[in-house]
């Protein structure tokens, strides 16, 4: 057992603690130093994580797995964290004297996600999940003087705790019936006892809550709308991807790997179809861009779930590929929304009116990112959906693919609604929307990644291909 293989996680933990301490110890709460330290530290860790991508090792008899599947998601979380820190830009000033802790909590949430994607058994998974979720409880309520934010924080706390309890209940049932919490051992001890099946169903419900799958999605819109935008972004790209990483590992190793006659994929297929349909249909009538993106993110979770349903090489590759490009597309869209909210103080569609005249680049980036979410080529979303639905059709779910494809075309309607406001809406204010250097960099990274990965998806899909080998 080589502890140095855990260096990525150790460094993230140290960085998070260091940032927290410096925020308290330095004069003026380290406003100028801490954000740079956090950002540079994350970038350094990302580079280290890239260099150690192909390491493989099982710790403590498989309790913690270092493998390419985990490495892939670690890259994803670190990139998402860095982008969110960059794009937060001027928004940080709203946190007043608490801005240093913001970075500390972000880093700790990242650590939680990393634990989740590498956990080889349920207790470790749960610890990672709680580390992430508790950091998010605080961050969601970060704007203390803002009613919506406080309400969102409280809601997230209550509902999050409820879902964690559900998950734990499921885990305890499974433990009671199989006598183990290790994924691999559960697979071999799997029987068709009703209590065990109930346990698995409850676990799936717990995950469904975290990745906001219908009918466990009710919390999403309010919390996404109320939370500070950078947090909403990180919730939607990071927390969701972590949920999927854990779900895929549990599903592939412990449940699907088991020799049972129960058709779990049909259960997930129905959830996916419902999520895609309901998420998109409700999004059609939204007037607030944050809320619209919240419903769209529900629909996006549905698409990714299609890949889990497929559970074959195309489908899983699709899950990993889509989760990654979703980071760029969604962060790009939220970054524009952040810039607009900082400038106008509002996030309704009318705040975006005339954006193409004020800041043509922002309008173009918003359009490109949203079209990627809709899956229009040559944006990356198309390649991702191609993998997901190819997997579904290969596994015999043609109906699911047709529903998914039609609904993603329907989603174009509300995405273009925002574009319409930006391109033909009128706004008395003609001055450009200002963005800080950091958020400009984040915007460019997002838009370039979205286009380049769409035009030339080969390298990323190969990477995803390596990452899923362990599950096949």
């Amino acid at each position: 057992m080589d502890i140095s293989l855990l260096l990525t996680e150790i460094m993230v933990a140290l960085l998070g603690l260091l940032v927290l301490v410096l925020g308290l110890a330095l004069p003026a709460r380290g406003k100028t130093v801490v954000n740079r330290l956090a950002l540079l530290g994350m970038i350094a860790i990302l580079i280290y994580a890239i260099s150690t991508f192909s390491q493989e090792e099982a710790f403590f008899n498989g309790v913690y797995q270092i493998d390419m599947f985990g490495s892939y998601f670690k890259l994803l979380f670190l990139s998402a964290g860095i982008l969110v820190m960059l794009m937060a830009g001027k928004y940080i000033s709203r946190f007043e004297e608490k801005s240093s802790e913001f970075y500390g909590l972000m880093i700790l949430a990242t650590l939680g996600m990393m634990l989740m994607c590498s956990a080889g058994e349920f207790i470790t998974l749960y610890v990672g999940l709680e580390l992430m979720t508790i950091s998010f409880y605080i961050l969601t309520a970060y704007l203390q003087n803002d009613q919506l934010s406080a309400e969102a924080g409280l809601k997230y706390l209550i509902l999050g705790a409820l879902s964690s309890a559900i998950l734990l209940f499921g885990i305890s049932l499974v433990y009671a019936m199989t006598g183990t919490t290790m994924f691999t051992e559960i697979a071999s001890a799997f029987t068709m006892q009703p209590a065990l099946l109930a346990g698995v169903v409850v676990i799936i419900a717990g995950f469904a809550f975290k990745i906001s799958v219908v009918p466990f999605h009710m919390w999403t819109p309010d919390i996404y709308q109320g939370a500070p935008i950078p947090i909403t972004t990180y919730l939607s790209v990071g927390s969701k991807a972590a949920g999927f990483a854990a779900l895929v590992r549990v599903f592939m190793v412990a449940i699907n790997g088991a020799d049972t006659s129960f058709d779990w994929s049909m259960l997930l297929a129905i959830l996916a179809a419902l999520t895609i349909i309901i998420g998109n249909l409700i999004a059609l009538s939204q007037k607030d861009v944050k809320r619209l993106l919240a419903y769209s993110s529900i629909a996006q979770a549905g698409y990714i779930l299609v890949g889990v349903v497929a559970a074959n090489s195309f489908g899983l590759k699709g899950v990993l590929f889509y989760a990654m490009i979703y980071v760029f597309a969604n962060t790009g869209a939220f970054a524009v929304a952040t810039a607009v909210e900082v400038d106008t103080g509002k996030t309704g569609i009318e705040a975006f009116a005339g954006l193409s005249k004020r800041s043509p680049m922002l309008a173009a980036i918003m359009t490109i990112c949203m079209l990627s979410l809709a899956g229009i080529p040559p944006m990356a979303g198309f390649a991702g959906k191609f993998y997901l639905f190819a997997g579904a059709i290969q596994n015999g779910y043609l109906w699911l693919a047709v529903i998914g494809l039609i609904m993603s075309m329907v989603s174009v309607y509300y995405y273009l609604g925002v574009s319409k406001a930006m391109y033909i809406g009128e706004n008395e204010n003609e001055s450009p929307v200002l963005t800080t250097g950091g958020s400009t960099v984040a915007l460019w990274i997002c838009v370039l990644a979205t286009i380049l990965l769409g035009v030339y998806p080969g390298p990323l899909s190969e990477l995803a291909g390596y990452a899923i080998q362990i599950l096949m």
Binding site: F386, F389, L398, V402, L416, Y423, G458, S461, G465
Partner: protein, 502 residues
């Protein structure tokens, strides 16, 4: 020319132009327009080079370029042209070049306009010259969004608002494409299961033997997708509203070439890869095509807005193309291809003239006009060439197309062919009435201030008018090329049908 990537250059020059325009300051209207004109001009010349340089004796795909793109999906960036794609490529660039000049008057937000227009032209071109299904679909959807933005930003609101028209067009095409994509993915997965290798190469997919049930299902998906794009009855409703709302250049490109992607896709992808499905569903398409030809022509009779007349008439003419495709023999498919080319140049010329007239008079109502030939003789010439081509007058390339289709179709669908021929009479009726009311008769004083075409406005008339007449007088230039492309397809189809049935 060996080694020089002609097709890639043709494809990328407009995109490069778009990037240059994005970098130019927004108030440099002249440089923006010249950049767009030069970019499309280079593409037009290169596609002429391809047209003349294609070796008919050799046949098959030529000017091939292949770069591996996505390994696990078997996608290659593969370009190549044959007798079917060259006319389409040429058509795209003729219309693309003309459309820049038809929009010469655009002053407000010229930068956005020409950027989007050039992206649109590149996208359309890409669908015709690729031999890879994935890349085909990529380009196919690329074009939809620029069109939406162009319509809402530069369109006109008359009977329906431009926002409504743009969204209707976009959603119709996207829903169609969703079915198409589902069909394509199913085909890809099936082919992988049969052959063991992932491939998106159209020619390779065509060599595999699919079960007839699968072929029928996937062909139905594709026929729905491509049919929507080709405005097949009853999925045609986007077309007249869309054209009416769109700015001139978009109407030209949309009616001229974009619709043709539907026909081209049906021939190149659906027929070739799924011959059994084609045989099963072709009669349905033929019957729906009657709806196109006759129903749309009747609607035309009662229209007053010029753009709606051309819009519905293009729906009606697409019926001929569909009948040609559905008859499934060499002559009829030849006719369908030539008809697509012919209708493309004709519709583009029509829309260019309408756009010009609307810009000056701010009305498109036929009854407002009269005796325009007095004030605007050149514009009237343009209208006459387009109009006479539309009703299939011998000497125009449209005559060749219609004639060939009916000759070919008569051997397969006798009754349908006869009903469809009545479409020609109806077309003559509404076109001649429209042109007569607008252009001839006593001079109307109120239009004395209208300026005739001059300078850049003449370009669409000359380029497209020339194409109509040259194609009509020298049909063999196109015909030989197209036969060259269609023959192997039909031969392959015949082969597989025998293999499949016994």
């Amino acid at each position: 020319m060996s080694g020089f990537p002609v097709l890639t250059t043709t494809l990328l020059v407009p995109l490069l132009g778009a990037i240059i325009i994005m970098c130019l300051p927004a108030d440099k209207h002249k440089s923006i327009k010249y950049t767009a004109a030069v970019a499309t001009f280079i593409s037009m010349i290169l596609s002429l080079v391809v047209f003349l340089g294609y070796d008919k004796a050799l046949g098959g795909m030529q000017f091939i370029e292949t770069i591996p793109w996505i390994k696990d999906l078997g996608v290659n960036y593969a370009l190549g042209v044959d007798g079917i794609s060259i006319p389409m490529l040429l058509l795209t660039n003729l219309i693309g070049f003309s459309s820049i000049y038809a929009s010469w008057k655009i002053e407000e937000r010229a930068k956005e306009f020409f950027t989007l227009l050039l992206i649109l032209i590149s996208g359309v071109m890409g669908t015709f010259i690729t031999t890879d299904l994935f890349i085909f679909f990529l380009f196919y959807e690329v074009v939809v969004i620029p069109i939406y933005l162009l319509v809402i930003m530069f369109g006109s609101t008359k009977r329906v608002s431009k926002e409504y028209a743009g969204m209707k067009l976009t959603i119709y095409l996207l829903i169609g494409s969703a079915f198409l994509l589902a069909g394509l993915i199913a085909l890809f997965i099936k082919a992988k299961a049969i052959s063991g290798i992932p491939s998106m190469d159209m020619a390779f997919l065509g060599t595999l033997d699919y079960s007839s049930g699968f072929q029928i299902l996937v062909f139905a998906f594709m026929a729905f997708g491509f049919g929507t794009l080709l405005s097949m009855f009853p999925f045609h409703a986007w077309s007249p509203d869309g054209y009416a709302g769109a700015p001139t250049a978009v109407s030209m490109i949309h009616a001229g070439v974009l619709k043709k992607i539907g026909g081209y896709g049906l021939i190149r992808i659906a027929l070739t890869i799924l011959p059994l499905g084609a045989k099963f569903i072709a009669p349905v398409i033929a019957v729906l095509a009657i709806g196109n030809v006759v129903y749309a022509a009747y609607i035309c009779l009662s229209q007053k807005d010029l753009k709606y007349i051309v819009g519905y008439s293009s729906v009606s003419h697409m019926g001929y193309v569909l009948i040609g495709i559905a008859a499934l023999n060499i002559i009829s498919i030849n006719g369908a291809v030539i008809m697509m080319f012919a209708h493309g140049v004709m519709a583009a010329l029509f829309f260019a003239m309408i756009g010009n007239l609307y810009e000056k008079s701010h009305t498109r109502n036929i009854e407002d006009f009269g005796g325009l030939a007095h004030q605007m003789p050149k514009l009237a010439t343009g209208f006459m060439i387009a109009g006479l081509a539309s009703l299939g007058l011998p000497g125009t390339v449209n005559f060749i197309g219609e004639f060939t289709i009916f000759v070919g179709a008569f051997s397969t669908f006798k009754v349908i062919a006869i009903i469809a021929i009545t479409g020609i009479i109806l077309t003559a009726l509404y076109i001649l009435r429209t042109l007569g009311t607008m252009l001839f008769g006593p001079r109307k004083e109120e239009w004395d201030h209208l300026q005739d075409l001059k300078g850049p406005e003449l370009v669409p008339l000359v380029v497209l008018g020339l194409a109509i007449i040259l194609g009509g007088c020298l049909p063999f230039t196109l015909m030989d090329l197209i036969t060259n492309g269609v023959e192997p397809l039909v031969a392959q189809m015949a082969l597989i049908q025998i293999g499949g049935l016994f």
